[in-house]
């Protein structure tokens, strides 16, 4: 099966005029311009199969948006190749345009002064969607994203959540094979986020749309993506399954133990000693609650629980799985700062 998106050794360098400080510096900048070259994307390679839903994540300034702009054909790379369903996006802009949908969370493609439905109609015409198909999609999306109430309202009067739902629907009206979502849930409340996520999930599952999702909300990624590509300083740090990432970077689980009141001796809680808990260590404990870190690969959960139970009266037990956010925080935290 040929890849839906193939990105090979992609590099993008920007030339930025060097700013000098102060008035004299400002005047000098006018005459002698020096440029600093900044590598926003530095040799990125990955490939996405048709029907995949991939999270493309990284900290601010990692080069995510620049990569998306090259994949959509807005920017031309300094070197490297991109192929989207066999087309080089910036060479054949208009043919590429027909097969991709784009949502930029911070910007809107809707007609600001006109009712939402008018933007839909214009997009239907721009992409030459046959009338029957157009109507079917509008009806379906209006239902899915619950847009009945504000369909006839000018976009400038919509709330952010309503506008984003409109933007998402607009990008799928012509049923593109590939959908790029650049921070689609930014600034949305829980309910709006959930309805966006459900929609994205359904587009991927039912219509087989290949989706590349950029976001800072890792709950989006955990909910939607099986695979993530993590980049920083313009390079790919990790490319693979979300679960594998967790087990690679966060092999630890935490067993939270709440001791029973009968454990109290002379008004003091006993101290849990980790010497006999093979492979596990007590991360913190206070007031009868202990957090025990362990690696599932080395210490089976039931052995650990049995060991704790054998020595202390236990009132409650729970296991905390690592979340993606903790993992990513750890990866970002480890990264080498670039001077």
């Amino acid at each position: 099966m040929p890849a839906a998106i193939r990105v090979q050794d992609l590099v993008k360098e920007f030339q930025r005029p060097r700013q000098r400080s102060g008035f004299v510096g400002g005047v000098r900048t006018l005459f002698t311009r020096q440029y600093d070259s900044v590598r926003a994307v530095d040799g990125v390679t990955f490939s996405i199969d048709p029907g995949e839903l991939v999270g493309y994540i990284g900290p601010n300034g990692a080069g995510k948006s620049t990569t998306i702009k090259m994949m959509t054909g807005i920017l031309v790379p300094t070197s490297g190749t991109v192929e989207v369903a066999g087309i080089t996006p910036w060479r054949d802009r208009e043919r590429n345009a027909l097969q991709i949908g784009v949502v930029f969370g911070q910007r809107s493609q809707l007609w600001w002064d006109l009712p939402l439905i008018d933007s839909f109609r214009l997009i239907g015409k721009l992409y030459r969607v046959p009338q029957a198909q157009y109507q079917r999609n509008v009806d379906r999306f209006v239902d899915m994203l619950d847009m009945h109430e504000f369909l006839e309202r000018p976009v400038r009067q919509l709330s952010l959540g309503q506008r984003m739902r409109g933007d998402l629907a607009a990008s799928m009206l012509y049923e593109p094979r590939i959908l790029y979502l650049d921070e689609p849930t930014i600034g949305l409340d829980v309910v709006a986020k959930e309805s966006m996520r459900t929609f994205i999930e359904e587009m991927n599952r039912e219509s087989g749309t290949t989706i590349v999702l950029t976001t800072h909300d890792l709950a989006d990624v955990e909910r939607l993506c099986a695979r993530i590509v993590l980049i920083d300083h313009g390079r790919v740090l990790y490319d693979g399954g979300v679960e594998q990432l967790k087990s690679k970077y966060a092999p630890h689980r935490v067993l939270v133990v709440q001791l029973g009141p009968e454990a109290v001796r002379d008004g003091r809680w006993p101290t849990i000693d980790d010497a006999f808990l093979a492979g596990a260590e007590v991360a913190e404990q206070a007031d009868g609650v202990a957090r025990i870190r362990f690696e599932t690969a080395r210490t089976p959960v039931h052995d650990l629980i049995a060991a704790v139970n054998a020595r202390y009266p236990v009132a409650d037990l729970s296991i905390v799985e690592p979340d993606l956010e903790g993992v990513v925080r750890q990866i970002y935290g480890d990264r080498v700062p670039v001077a």
């Binding site: 920007f14 030339q15 620049t66 702009k69 959509t72 054909g73 807005i74 920017l75 031309v76 790379p77 300094t78 070197s79 910036w90 060479r91 054949d92 802009r93 208009e94 043919r95 590429n96 345009a97 027909l98 991709i100 784009v102 930029f104 910007r107 809107s108 493609q109 007609w111 002064d113 006109l114 008018d118 109609r121 214009l122 015409k125 721009l126 992409y127 030459r128 000018p154």
Partner: protein, 280 residues
């Protein structure tokens, strides 16, 4: 650097999407209706301007019926029509729209659409002209009293006027497009559009017909494209331009269309290159 295929419009089959252009024109009309106070306010300004010009010129003509070979009635008709026409054809909202799209980075969306940016802008311009016309028609009785409306010099003058007006319209569109595209470099064009409006109105002969311009100014005005947008068609209408001079003026209009189209095209290539290579 990779080779870049520019400008968009490379896949010809996708170029002419009239249903989409009609939708854009419709959208523009709806926006104009939504913001009708603005349009009515501008129209009121134009009517007042026509009224003042009429008063001033009537005073100048107090003791003679003809100045430099231009008779009073023809002059008043000229000023009235020139000002209405200038208002209908030169709606600044589209340059402002373009500038806003560039400034907010929304051109990114225009570049990922299957219809070229320029084609979309032309549809926007056509829509705004239509909406201005929509406001002018009901205002004609008021304009009749504020200014002086009169029939064209002859049937043939009327016919040539329409052709010359069409040429003038294309020139205006090209100039607006060029002004709007400057936003790709400066990201700030509001001052420039105001200056442009003033200069173009003056050199187009909307305030004073070119006939009255003194030597050097006249030469300058004739070297600029603005006279082709207002002075030429309206002078044909009132019969001031006729015969060989009229034909010559139309040839000049056509030359301007060709020259400005080339300039706009070259500029668009560079503008796109800027977005595409340096980032929005």
């Amino acid at each position: 650097m990779t080779a870049i295929s520019l400008p968009p419009g490379s896949s010809r089959a996708l170029d002419r999407n009239f249903p989409a252009y009609i939708e854009i024109v419709r959208g523009r009309l709806k926006v104009a209706i939504a913001y009708r106070q603005n349009s009515l306010f501008l129209l009121a300004i134009v009517v007042v301007q026509i009224f003042i010009l009429k008063k001033v010129w009537t005073a100048l003509y107090a003791h003679q019926t003809s100045v430099s070979g231009v008779d009073r009635h023809a002059l008043l008709v000229y000023l009235t029509i020139a000002n209405i026409q200038g208002w209908v054809l030169q709606d600044p909202t589209v340059s402002r729209y373009m500038y806003e799209r560039v400034r907010q980075g929304l051109v990114a969306f225009d570049l990922v659409r299957p219809s070229g940016f320029i084609q979309q802008m032309f549809a926007q311009l056509a829509g705004s002209t239509l909406s201005s016309m929509m406001f002018v028609l009901p205002a004609l009785p008021i304009i009749y009293f504020a200014g002086t409306l009169g029939a064209p010099a002859s049937w043939s003058a009327a016919g040539v006027y329409v052709a010359s007006l069409a040429c003038g319209y294309v020139i205006t569109m090209m100039l607006m497009l060029i002004i709007g595209m400057i936003a790709f470099w400066t990201t700030e064009i509001l001052g420039l559009t105001m200056l442009y409006r003033l200069v173009s109105q003056f050199f187009a002969g909307a305030l004073v017909p070119l006939t009255f311009f003194p030597g050097a100014l006249r030469v300058l005005a004739e070297a600029l494209p603005f006279q082709s947008t207002v002075y030429v068609p309206v002078a044909i209408y009132v019969g001031r331009l006729h015969g060989l001079a009229m034909l010559q003026a139309i040839v000049v209009q056509i030359a301007w269309i060709a020259g400005l189209s080339l300039a706009a095209w070259a500029m668009w290539r560079r503008a796109l290159f800027r977005v595409v290579v340096q980032g929005g």
